[in-house]
Homo-oligomer: 215 residues x 2
Amino acid sequence: MTAHSRRKFRREGEERRRQDLIEATLDCVAERGLPGATVRAIAQRAGVTAGLIRHYFPGKEELLQAAYAEIVGRMTEQAKAALAMEGAGPRRRLATFLAANLGPPVVDTRVFSLWAGFIGRAHADPALSVAHREGYLDFRDEVEALVAEVLEAEGRAAGKTQLRRHAIAINAIIDGLWIEGCLAGDIFEPGELADIGIATVEALLELDLREEEKT
Amino acid sequence: MTAHSRRKFRREGEERRRQDLIEATLDCVAERGLPGATVRAIAQRAGVTAGLIRHYFPGKEELLQAAYAEIVGRMTEQAKAALAMEGAGPRRRLATFLAANLGPPVVDTRVFSLWAGFIGRAHADPALSVAHREGYLDFRDEVEALVAEVLEAEGRAAGKTQLRRHAIAINAIIDGLWIEGCLAGDIFEPGELADIGIATVEALLELDLREEEKT
DNA sequence: ACGCTACTTATACACTTGCATAACAACGCC
DNA sequence: GGCGTTGTTATGCAAGTGTATAAGTAGCGT
């Protein structure tokens, strides 16, 4: 009778393990969808046993939320970086913002899979629903502010409702192109989505975002 | 000892039962998300017992696919109706097509919830993935054909790549606005999304879709 | 009215899930 | 180097899942 020898293991720092578990969760969701992200599958991918998850997170729900927060963080990080370009003029910042949201690492099947999984349960889970609405409105507000700056610098003041509609439309363009890129990225040339997005916004606002800016 | 009396039931026609089960599935998905659509929950909502499902469908998977097909059918039905307007000119048909995709019953939380649930598992399930890609390309081809007609009628021939990019952009606008409407329909006025969509496409194509057409 | 068919119910089963708990061992400290 | 702390494993459990199967009965043909 073979006495089952207990598995060897190493102790990792708390921060490291948490990050590993989150990354393993993202991998599982990306490969097998949200229902495929079971505690056992996540643990196996992280190289630990299932029970350990509950040593770092109150429950599976919290781990998923942490993973979702991680993804959202990475996405907004790119967008924020584009917005923070204080040196450039408004038009160039808008173009950079669009390009940042329509290329890697924002356009990615893993990101999309997690997004779809959470969004699908959004209106079943009220907490998730409001979190998402807030994220959406925040994003749209940023777009609206950016558009306002651009038009103002152009000497073309726009009314509140017009500004709102522009923000809604641009947000839709970003979302739509993002989804197309995530679902079928292989049928687009690299940078093509960003080009299309910028060109469409240019047509919408009736100006050239790539032209050299005049101080 | 109370002898459990067997539950009363009525026999329904095959078509009726199948439709009821599909409708019950849609309700469950809409209210509790895809994971909430268990065979027992579906059966309860349909007013039958769980075992009956397997009398009309080989398994749960097939029932879900039938429900998904039902939703897709209802969505494309609207779009096709707009396309079939042979009497009207190309510009009016494009506007109608846009409006049809950006209002009820296409813009609906139930539809979206089911869409999100399926799309989330899309790249885990190859069969689902190709089905979706085909649906997307079909839809985009329709958009492209419509745009081609409009530009042609205007005497503005466009190159193949330009046509393709227009179709991608318009498709993105539809998708993006559709999502916004489904997720937060209450913050938009009725018809506002359609207005924004049409206005954005007008800007993109540099023409007026609502102006009276000249024969 | 009676049987037959197949639609419907009821029960059971194998499996998976998240979670609880106890045994264990790796690492730091003295 | 021994020891305690606690990160980690191993095992078990109750609940829920889809599915299989047998029993029952509603409604139709005759």
